[in-house]
Amino acid sequence: MLTLNNFDKAFENRIRLQVMSVLVANESYDFNSLKELLATTDGNLASHLKALEKEEYISVNKSFLGRKPNTKYKATEKGTSAFKKHLEALENLIKQQKG
């Protein structure tokens, strides 16, 4: 039986996992670029971002570019280490299967 230790419930959803991947690899990313990259809808992305924000895995910075709202997201330290732990858990799972 495989152990599911260290698996982060917040990353069970593929979109949330992808958002976290983008934010760990980049200093910050704005809402529209995320939407385009992940090919998702406004509502869907917003709800997953809310969930990650609630976990304090990401921080939000709202500003305006002219009249358009420009919302930028960053991975927090907590989020980055949670993401790393999740990757390690994935790695362990693969190792277990091989061994």
Partner: protein, 220 residues
């Protein structure tokens, strides 16, 4: 958790990290076009610089040495035409690059002005503008012989610096441009040939390779 899910998760992480940091809409064809513009420009320069069409290379070397020792032999109008030709090539190349990349981005359902292309521009712009100013100062000071090597070296540096945000192949093009620029600096009098090789031939070669490596697959 299913085996397949884990591998899907991992490959989606890898894929999205790459796509979010690298601008992959850079069109190979724009490299080919830039190379063609550069060769046409070099051809015009070859025809209007009197040293290239009226005297042998050996004589040119002598003329070059005289330039270094203070005698300027270019007429003002030739310099001006060359300057305008260079500017036209620059704008045509950048314009074509943006146009073709925008087209490729649209096909990939991406926008051409996204965080990765912004990073790309940010990384490349500083060495490029520095090189532009450097070359312009050389031009003002009548050091014509070192302008071509300067363009090649700084352009190469800009490519290497920008390559972090796009295909890794760009780095190799950059390194080749730098090497060519340095070689050109050691061979005074042959600047135009090196310039044509670096901006013309290398761009066409590189663009063709990129086109077959990345773009054709997307069209299918």
């Amino acid at each position: 958790m299913e085996n397949k899910d884990i591998y899907d998760d991992i490959s989606s992480i890898k894929n999205i990290m790459e796509r979010s940091t690298k601008f992959i809409s850079l069109a190979g064809l724009s490299g080919v076009m830039a190379g063609i513009y550069a060769l046409i420009g070099a051809g015009i320069a070859y025809m209007i610089i009197p040293q290239y069409n009226t005297i042998s290379v050996a004589d040119y070397d002598k003329a070059y040495t005289e330039t270094v020792s203070g005698n300027t032999y270019h007429s003002l109008s030739v310099e001006l035409i060359l300057f305008v030709v260079a500017l036209v090539i620059l704008f045509l190349s950048i314009g074509t690059g943006i146009l073709l990349s925008a087209r490729k981005a649209r096909r990939n359902n991406q926008s051409v002005w996204n965080p990765s292309s912004k990073s790309l521009a940010n990384a490349g712009l500083l060495p490029l503008l520095t090189g532009g100013c450097f070359a312009f100062i050389l031009y003002l000071q009548h050091h014509y012989g070192t302008i071509a090597p300067t363009c090649l070296v700084f352009y190469g540096l800009a490519l290497v610096s920008a390559s972090k945000y796009t295909y890794g192949d760009v780095k190799w093009l950059g390194l080749l441009e730098i090497i060519l620029g340095l070689l050109s600096l050691m061979q005074p009098g042959y600047g135009l040939y090196f310039w044509a090789l670096g901006f013309g031939v290398l761009h066409i070669l590189y663009g063709t390779i990129m086109y077959f490596k990345y773009d054709r697959v997307n069209v299918k």
